[in-house]
């Protein structure tokens, strides 16, 4: 069965993926693979994953996001997670998944500003 593909958009040096539908496990794993390949192909400096539309983030998706952040980090790319609904933030912490190493922002707009700052810093660092 074909899994659902999440579109990954490129704006400048940044990739943006907005997850609009509930992901089943196979499509979530497909998204991780697609995103890491796209980071490699586009040499993106940063990735924003927007979860505004999700009303459930369980431990599987939580772990996947932590994994994506770690893997993208190994490739030199920063990840910012945006748009977590209050109920999602509450259930993630109650589940025990606080995602301490994942950078977050309230919404996509604030995420873009954060990402701009992060990628500028990394430009300074490499200069």
């Amino acid at each position: 069965m074909d899994s659902l593909r999440i579109p990954i958009l490129k704006i400048g040096d940044i990739l943006i993926a907005s997850i609009q539908v509930a992901l089943h496990d196979a499509s979530a794993v497909q998204f991780k693979d697609d995103l890491l390949q796209k980071i490699h192909d586009t040499r993106a400096k940063g990735v924003i994953i927007d979860l505004t539309a999700l009303d459930v983030v369980d431990s599987f998706i939580g772990r996947l996001i932590a994994d994506i952040t770690a893997m993208a980090g190994l490739m030199g790319t920063r990840v910012v997670l945006t748009g977590l609904q209050p109920a999602v933030a509450i259930t993630l912490v109650e589940l025990g998944l606080e995602l301490p190493r994942v950078l977050t922002a309230l919404n996509l707009e604030k995420g873009l500003i954060m990402m701009q700052r992060l990628t500028e810093e990394s430009d300074d660092g490499s200069a």
Partner: protein
């Protein structure tokens, strides 16, 4: 409507999403708020995934319950899988025999008000959990 059952059969990872959507819809119809709906849907997601990962197939049943004029939701997850030999161990945070983070069962327990596991080796597992409307 009282006590009406809704059942989802778990056979694939797609059914995990179907089961939690069903539980959320029932919780919403029973008057649970948005945050409790998310807690209930997330707990069902964890329990349904456990069925899929360890037993392969099973059922998730959701129904309305009523005690002392208090309304709630009861979720029963049943499988005929290998069973859980050491329930104390699987209820520990971080314990996992699969690809998970070991948050599934203890996490689901924290999201619900009542949580009970009955399991017999090579016979199966039944997890019953409840949440009461505040």
């Amino acid at each position: 409507m009282m006590g009406q059952l809704k059942t989802a059969v778990i056979r694939s990872d797609l059914d995990i999403v179907i089961a939690r959507t069903m539980a959320r819809d029932v919780a919403k119809a029973l008057g649970f708020g948005a945050i409790d709906q998310a807690r209930i849907a997330t707990a069902v997601s964890e329990l349904a995934r456990n069925i899929f990962l360890y037993a392969g197939t099973g059922n998730v049943t959701v129904r309305e319950i009523d005690k002392n004029a208090r309304k709630g939701i009861e979720i029963v997850c049943e499988d005929q899988g290998p069973g859980i030999t050491n329930i104390d161990l699987v209820m520990q945070d971080g314990y996992s025999t699969s690809r998970g983070m070991g948050m599934g069962l203890p996490g689901a327990k924290r999201l619900m008000d009542e949580f009970n596991i009955r399991s017999t080796e090579n016979v199966g597992t039944t997890i019953t959990c409840r949440k009461w409307r505040s």
